[in-house]
């Protein structure tokens, strides 16, 4: 069940109405049942795997909570278990072909197309949540959850199941037990979060994604420089609006249950430094990485090299953290390079900060803020290249995009020739004019971001007069309806992680 489908909307309305009318003691059971129901619409074996993961971590957590010795061993067993499940199921592309051929050589039938393993959606998100749960218990900042049902709900809670946000147990478990009362302001806010999410996903991300030619990420050599640049710009906005849209929708839905989820995106493309970028992009994961990778690595280094001015302190924690971030997205060289690039950006930034007094971006002169934001945006956009395509193709893409030879002057005379009927063209690309539809779609995308930035509110519509809200809603619904006639559809990009 896709979260932008009508079926999901009906499912949510029923789940919320029942939840709100149930006596509080039964609400957790209902939410758990609804989440399992949602999971079953994907695959029954997925539900089974997640319940096993939940149960193992539940008992490991309890064991860790009462253990007085061998706690470290227990913690690493738990981490090992969760990573093993992730590697076994998510990264099976690495070993399944070899395993299939081995089994076949041993005479074991693996079925048509070889061995196929289940790929549980959202497993990467669940794995990091389970690890932080065990680490927090080990570090005695969290007591183990005594009730299996509450813990299992933490694992399978449907609004955050597919692509997060990555919620810490210590933050969300109390919310399950004591949800926020739903007043009129909360209803309106949640509604606008959902509307904003739908705008980002259905109007902005899906449309931009459809505009990008599929083969540009496979054969960049057949595109001219300006096309590569414009479609990379489009992809940069696709991935942001897709994921931010998803997060906004699920936060809105979760809000109706009185359970607030973390805001994952705080206008990342307005960041003026990479430190700021990672405080705004996929916030729940980047904060997790900061707390469970960056800080522990820094602390470990500090024990070995007490001098904080040592270059190792500047280089190792960010690069390790960003490489782990890359690996979390997938075991591929492209993701590693993406993480590595961001690690390098952070290192460079930390090195430049050594040179002068440390000032926050808000204290910088305006021009520097603008220039820095553009540089950060440009470098972040270029880092999406290895994220999106294999390394060799990505390199080709980058080199071609940056090479002046690959840029062509727009052939405006051809436009005139076509209008006057003296020439026919078989493809729009013969004109050498960048795809204007990308710029057309960037106008509403930037308008939305700019207003959220300007009013410092993701639901700035709430301050509008009623008629303006009605008009905006009418335009949104009409646009979605008209777009639905197009023969395109796109799954959420981050659902693959």
């Amino acid at each position: 069940m896709s979260i932008t489908s009508l079926a999901f909307a009906v499912f949510c309305v029923v789940a919320i109405l029942v939840y709100r009318n149930l006596p509080p003691p039964y609400r957790t059971s209902w939410l758990f049942a609804a989440s399992i129901g949602f999971l079953l619409t994907w695959a029954w074996d997925l539900a089974a795997v997640l319940l096993v993961v939940a149960t193992v971590n539940f008992f490991l957590g309890r064991w860790l909570g009462v253990a007085t010795n061998r706690r470290r061993f227990l913690l690493w067993t738990g981490i090992g278990f969760n990573v093993a499940v992730l590697v076994a199921l998510k990264y099976n592309g690495f070993y399944v072909p070899a395993l299939t051929s081995l089994l076949e050589r041993m005479g074991v039938q693996t079925g048509e197309g070889g061995l196929k393993l289940l790929v549980p959606v959202g497993l990467s998100f669940i794995t990091v949540q389970m690890i932080s749960y065990l680490v927090d218990i080990h570090n005695k900042i969290l007591k183990p959850e005594p009730h299996w049902l509450d813990f299992a709900l933490y694992v399978v809670y449907f609004p955050k199941l597919l692509s997060g946000p990555v919620e810490r147990a210590r933050m969300i478990l109390p919310k399950f037990k004591q949800p926020v009362p739903l007043d009129a302001a909360a209803v309106e806010r949640n509604t606008w979060l959902i509307v904003t999410g739908l705008v980002r996903k259905l109007i902005l991300a899906d449309t931009l994604l459809s505009i990008i030619p599929a083969d540009i990420f496979l054969h960049p050599e057949s595109f001219v420089g300006q096309e590569l640049a414009v479609y990379l710009l489009a992809y940069t906005f696709v991935i942001y609006n897709d994921f931010a849209g998803y997060t906004s929708i699920v936060r809105g839905v979760s809000g109706f249950f009185g359970i607030e989820l973390t805001n994952n995106f705080k206008l990342p493309y307005f960041s003026r430094s990479f430190t700021e970028f990672w405080d705004r992009w996929h916030v729940s994961l980047s904060h997790w990485l900061r707390d469970y990778i960056f800080f522990p690595v820094s602390r470990a280094l500090k024990k070995k090299i007490p001098n904080r001015e040592n270059i190792v302190h500047l280089v190792v924690p960010p690069i390790v953290t960003m490489l782990v971030s890359g690996m979390w997205h997938g075991l591929g060289w492209g993701f590693l390079v993406w993480g590595g690039l961001h690690g390098l950006y952070l290192i460079f930034e930390r090195l430049t900060m050594l040179r002068g007094p440390r000032r926050l971006p808000d204290e910088w002169p305006k021009w520097r803020q603008v220039v820095s934001a553009l540089v950060v945006f440009g470098l972040a956009a270029m880092a999406w290249i290895p994220f999106r395509m294999n390394l060799a193709t990505g390199w080709q893409y980058l080199v071609r995009m940056l090479s002046l030879d690959a840029w062509r002057m727009p052939r405006l005379w051809l436009v005139q020739a076509v209008i006057t009927g003296t020439r026919e063209v078989s493809s729009w690309r013969e004109f050498g004019i960048p795809d204007m539809r990308v710029f057309l779609m960037l106008i509403p995308a930037l308008w939305l971001d700019w207003n959220q930035h300007r009013w410092k509110s993701e639901t700035f519509f709430m301050d509008w007069p009623a008629w303006a809200k009605g008009l905006f809603l009418a335009i949104v619904v009409l646009t979605i309806l008209l777009l639905s006639f197009g023969e395109t559809s796109a799954p959420f990009v981050y659902q693959g992680f």
Partner: protein, 363 residues
């Protein structure tokens, strides 16, 4: 009286404003779309069907009927009809023989076999009441599974299902909204291939005459070469047709076209397209073709239709073909003239001039 809380009032205002603006915007778009100005700048309309050529024909026929007060003869079939029959030439030929000016429309649509065309035929007859329906066919479309790739999305279309009597909201909306019909040609504006395919669609729309004929400029090569199973270019056709058998389901489709003549419906004429004889090598030779003709002729006649075999109008030069099956701009007028003359003979036999008596569209 209890006072309505402020937030409830505010929510209500938003909801009411939403409906108000939604309706106002929809009405404004609808009004603008129905002006002659829009018609002038964007004559290309669509019902959202997967087959854009079907849409060209659908609206061209609608305009044709508006302009001519009705249609007497509708010619239905695949791309063979689209590029192979020029109704204007047929009209002239028929006029020369009978002195009667028929209103003939070519509703040939690429890729559509007898299966989807049986549905098209029903819709067109119900809507326009032609006096004569010509179904042009050939052997390939009686092979089970042929043309499925075009048929499946075509038949799944909401609007077509609505037209066929299966009520659905989308179909109703498209059928009744001029604004939507003007938007739908551009519905895929966000697709990567739109900028390349749309000019092509527009060109084909422009190239299609008011009576539905689209000329083909290509002159075919090696049409007379005997197909060779070892030649990779021919292998696909051998694989598809070498064990030629008529699929009974396709005959049933043809029967539903023939059944349209009942209860005062049109005369049905089934015409076999004169494909180039080397094609018959794929199906097993001329004997297999003859067998097919016999079966088809018997079937058509048994169900009250008339049948015109391929050899009736087979005087087409080699350069009049764009490939073994399709006629080009040289062949189409020759075939169309012959068909017009044959029509006059049929009219004579049936003691009818095929003029549709009801003026205008019935729907």
């Amino acid at each position: 009286m209890a006072r309505v809380p402020q937030h409830t009032k505010s929510a209500l205002t938003v909801i009411l404003s939403f409906f108000f603006f939604f309706i106002i915007i929809a009405i404004c778009c609808e009004c603008v779309a129905r002006t002659s100005w829009v018609e002038k700048i964007s004559s290309y309309r669509s019902v959202g069907n997967h087959d854009y050529q079907f849409e060209i024909k659908w609206f061209r026929l609608e305009d044709y009927v508006k302009q001519n007060g009705g249609v007497d003869v509708i010619i239905l079939g695949s791309s063979l009809v689209n590029t192979g029959i020029d109704p204007d030439v047929m009209v002239e030929a028929f006029f020369e023989q009978t002195g009667v000016k028929l209103r003939i429309f070519n509703f040939g649509v690429e890729g559509l076999t007898v299966a989807p065309n049986s549905i098209n035929a029903g819709i067109l007859v119900e809507r326009y009441h032609p006096a004569l329906l010509i179904y042009v066919t050939e052997m390939r479309e009686f092979v089970a599974g042929s043309g499925l790739e075009a048929e499946t999305p075509f038949l799944a279309d909401s609007w077509l299902r609505y037209e066929h009597g299966d009520f659905n909201m989308t179909g109703w909306l498209i059928d009744h909204s001029a604004a939507l019909q003007h938007y739908l040609p551009y519905r895929n504006w966000m697709r990567a291939d739109f900028l390349d395919t749309q000019p092509h669609h527009l060109k084909r729309s422009k190239d299609t005459t008011a009576s539905g004929y689209e000329h083909d400029n290509k002159i075919g090569q090696n049409i007379d070469a005997i197909p060779d199973p070892n030649n990779p270019d021919d292998a696909e056709n051998f694989a598809a047709y070498q064990n030629f058998q008529i699929d009974p389901r396709r005959l049933n489709n043809l029967k539903s076209i023939l059944d349209l003549r009942q209860n005062g419906g049109p005369t049905i004429l089934v015409v076999e397209m004169p494909v180039y004889p080397t094609f018959y090598v794929f199906v097993g030779g001329e004997a297999v073709h003859k067998q097919f003709q016999q079966t088809l002729s018997g079937f058509v006649k048994a169900n009250g239709g008339s049948f015109l075999p391929a050899e009736t109008c087979n005087d087409i030069p080699l350069e009049g073909r764009s490939n073994r099956w399709h006629l080009n701009y040289i062949g189409a007028p020759i075939f169309s003239k012959c068909l017009g003359q044959q029509l006059s003979i049929l009219a004579d036999q049936q003691n009818s001039d095929f003029v549709h008596l009801n003026i205008g569209s019935s729907k």
